[in-house]
């Protein structure tokens, strides 16, 4: 499977993901991976007690698959993998893992970057940040939209 996407309901192991991905990326000259972690502090510096990621029973999985497959096609990857958590997540836990395998490093870096930018705005999730001063639902920032727009000719 060259493009694979997984919606994880429980904690996952990014190191194990990377090892398995690399082992199956036959012929690749470069593997780039990224791990996003749940932050310990809000943007305003307040202590976070946890995240909750709501998801859709079908659209969430299909959005992850579409983002992964689009990266394979656009960048001509040898393989791509996305793992994204849903549900309750503790500060410090991995939320998202992306990996791209390509013939050369530049392509792999760009593909991982592009997948993350798209995940921020196009993956079907709703993220609530629970902090000691209250809870708030997160929406994509102008920066997230600008990052996404870098790949809009995809």
């Amino acid at each position: 499977v060259i493009a694979s996407a997984c919606l994880a309901e429980d904690a996952f192991d990014p190191a194990g993901e990377l090892a398995a991905f690399t082992a199956h990326a036959a012929g690749a000259g470069a593997v780039v991976s990224f791990v996003g972690l749940a932050r310990h502090r809000t943007r305003a510096g307040v202590e976070v007690t946890g995240l909750f990621l709501d998801h859709h029973p079908r659209l969430t999985q299909s959005s992850l698959e579409e983002i992964t497959q689009a990266a394979v096609q656009r960048f001509g990857l040898i393989a791509a993998r996305v793992v994204h958590r849903c549900g309750a997540i503790a500060p410090g836990e991995p939320i998202v893992f992306v990996a791209a395998a390509a013939a050369h490093r530049r392509t792999a870096f760009e593909a991982a970057d592009a997948m993350m930018d798209r995940l921020k705005t196009d993956a079907v999730f709703w993220k609530r940040e629970d902090a000691v001063d209250g809870s708030r639902w997160i929406e994509p920032s102008d920066q997230d939209r600008a990052d996404r727009a870098r790949w809009s000719d995809a």
Binding site: G36, L53, D54, H55, H56, R58, L59, H84, I95, V96, M116, L119, K120, T121, D122, A123, V124, F125, W126, K127, R128, W137, I138, E139, P140
Partner: protein, 80 residues
């Protein structure tokens, strides 16, 4: 008909609401009825960024609701 909600809308309204069906109605009609029946969530429901969804497809508010369709309203996404 059943309407499902996600994220902040699910928190404000509940995961699912049952509305009596109205033949020939549009998603916009459904949105207006929900705003009337859930005043506490009216502002959130009225946002254009909250997209109507018919059988897992995002559609405009002018889409007609077929019998037995699954409806949902999706707030702006936030992954990653």
């Amino acid at each position: 008909m059943k309407i499902r909600f996600y994220g902040p809308l699910a928190e404000a309204i509940g995961r699912e609401v049952e509305l009596p069906g109205e033949p020939g109605g549009t998603l916009g009609d459904v949105r207006r009825r929900l705003i009337a029946s859930h005043p506490a969530a009216a502002e959130a429901l009225a946002r254009p960024a909250v997209r109507a969804c018919l059988d897992d497809e995002v559609v405009g508010d002018d889409a007609v609701v077929p019998e037995g369709a699954e409806l949902a309203f999706l707030p702006p996404l936030s992954g990653g």
